[in-house]
């Protein structure tokens, strides 16, 4: 007889239904995102050296300290959930390596204290903490935020900034952004020359086309830029890992990047001195912090819409905003400020997509 009531065994659990659970869990999600960011971060450190380490370490330490200061006195212990570490890391990765060390410290502090903990901590903030922190830095330390560390090739500013100033100076030539950069004398690396020389000579030669100088640098991430945003391949690898693990959802980055690319192609031409429908989408996609923002900041579940339709709308809005801000705005490369504006739209998108968040919009029963 194995009757548990009489067998002197442990008492039966009395927990409420449902008694089974889906396999997904929030535990450790943030740590997975941290892990997926490390390769891109390592690339940035390899390019920019000890300065990059300093910036990221200060950002990380400030975020952790701010989280500890705002939670431990209230007997909440949230450092283990990894969200503060993630915020500090992303803040650091959005910054140029040459930035004054006040910037990562203040940005992380602002991110954790003002953007997150003021609202009650993880899950209650409506703006992504890292986005808020970097935006604060961009608005506060404009000059410092443009202090790049030059590469061995001699490139001292990101290709995107160089393109902007070349165009502003009226030096537009036909042939797309890389042609403009080359005409303006932007230095690319030796690796770029040899790799492209080989590709153009051996693979594409008989087609009578050739990749413009700089293509290899831009694609591989051998360029000046924010610490964590230069290496497109490593960012995409990290994103693929997260997508495969089901940590982030694909709708937002896909809608975001697709809408941005279409707009850049269709409407971006005139801005680079060409006609309509000739914009260089690929160069724009790979430049600046777009990939970092699209895969690692826009997908933050806390600050993205609840429903699938809402996520499509959000991604689309981000694509449009980023296009407008990158071509016409003056706050960084337009990604961070678009994310901030997009975050602000999320509650509205939720109301529109679910129709159930405001009493006046409550669904009729039935």
């Amino acid at each position: 007889m194995s009757d548990p009531a009489q067998g002197g065994q442990a008492r039966l659990l009395l927990s409420p239904a449902p008694h089974i659970k889906a396999a997904s869990s929030t535990v450790g999600l943030a740590w997975l995102v941290v892990a997926s960011l490390l390769p891109a971060l390592a690339w940035g450190i390899a390019l920019f050296g000890i300065a990059a380490v300093r910036v990221c370490a200060v950002g990380l330490a400030a975020a952790v300290a701010a989280e500890a200061l705002t939670t431990v006195p209230f007997k909440r212990f949230t450092l283990g959930d990894g969200s503060a570490v993630l915020t500090g890391l992303i803040v650091g990765m959005f910054l140029p390596a040459g930035v004054s060390l006040v910037v990562p410290a203040a940005a992380s502090f602002f991110a954790i204290v003002v953007v997150k903990q003021t609202f009650g901590g993880l899950g209650r903030n409506w703006m992504n903490p890292a986005v808020g922190g970097v935006l604060f830095a961009l608005l506060s330390w404009n000059a410092s935020m443009a202090r790049w560390i030059p590469l061995a090739s001699g490139a001292a500013v990101p290709p995107l900034d160089a393109l902007r100033s070349a165009l502003a100076a009226g030096r537009s030539v036909p042939g797309g952004p890389l042609a403009v950069l080359n005409a303006a004398g932007y230095p690319f690396s030796g690796a770029d020359a040899s790799v492209l020389g080989w590709i153009n000579g051996h693979l594409l030669g008989f087609l009578h086309v050739g990749l413009p100088t700089g293509a290899f640098d831009v694609v591989s991430g051998m360029v000046v830029g924010p610490i964590g945003a230069v290496s497109a391949p490593l960012l995409l690898a990290g994103a693929a890992f997260l997508l495969a693990r089901g940590v982030i959802r694909w709708e937002i980055p896909v809608a975001y990047l697709a809408v941005f690319a279409v707009l850049a192609f269709a409407l971006g031409g005139p801005a680079t001195g060409r006609g309509w429908l000739t914009g260089e989408a690929l160069f724009q996609l790979l430049s600046g912090t777009l990939l970092l923002g699209a895969f690692f900041a826009a997908t933050d579940p806390v600050t993205s819409p609840l429903s699938r339709a809402g996520r499509w709308a959000y991604g689309t809005a981000l694509g449009i905003l980023t296009f407008v801000m990158r071509y016409f705005g003056s706050v960084g490369d337009g990604v961070v400020v678009s994310l901030a504006l997009g975050n602000a739209l999320v509650p509205l998108i939720d109301i529109a997509a679910l129709g159930a968040l405001a009493p006046s919009h409550a669904r009729k029963a039935g």
Binding site: G120, L139, G329, V331, A340, L341, A344, L348
Partner: protein, 195 residues
């Protein structure tokens, strides 16, 4: 200045709420429903349009020729108060259904309208430009109020720190939104209209 420039300037660049910090109503702060947010925007658009027209008239016909520009403030204040009163009466008479969603005799709207009219008159716009500016200010107000009230609806159900619940968090939220809105600056305006 072109019509588009005026629209962008008053709706986004010089947003009533986010850069002038006008038009947030004391008892409850940000409106608690989208309907009300949009009603406030419509009220401000109407009031600011009419008042800018009236202020233009008062300036060009009376105050400036007579050298009485130091009387601008009382004149504008009374102009706006009187218009608001008249609009309310008119609504009561002709469209009482709209009354709950619009809000004419409200401090917030009046202060915002006064701010808008003052900017329009300081910028020496023409009468027609003033009308567009008033409309744009109303649109920008409605947009920001809709966003803020959606944020408020979301925050209302969250367990936020007790000291920050309600108005304090609305202000911090508005501040973060104002930072994001700095994307729409003068350089942006120039590039959009120039390019």
């Amino acid at each position: 200045m072109s019509i588009a420039a005026i629209l962008v300037t008053f709706a986004l660049v010089d947003n009533v709420v986010l850069s002038l910090l006008l038009g947030v109503n004391p008892p409850q702060g940000v409106p608690g429903s989208l309907r009300r947010a949009l009603g406030l925007g419509a009220s401000l658009a109407t009031l600011a349009c009419l008042a800018s027209l009236g202020a233009w008239g008062a300036d060009t016909m009376a105050l400036v020729p007579l050298g009485l520009d130091f009387l601008r403030t009382p004149v504008y204040v009374f102009l706006i108060a009187g218009l608001a009163w008249l609009l309310r009466k008119a609504l009561q008479r002709f469209a009482p259904r709209l009354l709950p969603s619009v809000s004419f005799p409200e401090a917030a709207v009046n202060a915002a309208a006064l701010g808008v009219v003052l900017i329009i008159r300081h910028g020496s716009y023409t009468a027609a430009e003033g009308l567009v500016a008033g409309l744009a200010a109303g649109l920008g107000y409605a947009l920001v109020m809709a966003v803020l009230s959606a944020i408020r609806l979301r925050l209302e159900v969250e367990q936020v720190p007790r000291a920050m619940r309600g108005l304090p968090l609305q202000l911090v939220s508005a501040g973060l939104l104002a930072f994001a809105f700095l994307a729409f600056d003068r350089a942006f305006l120039a590039r959009v209209l120039g390019g």
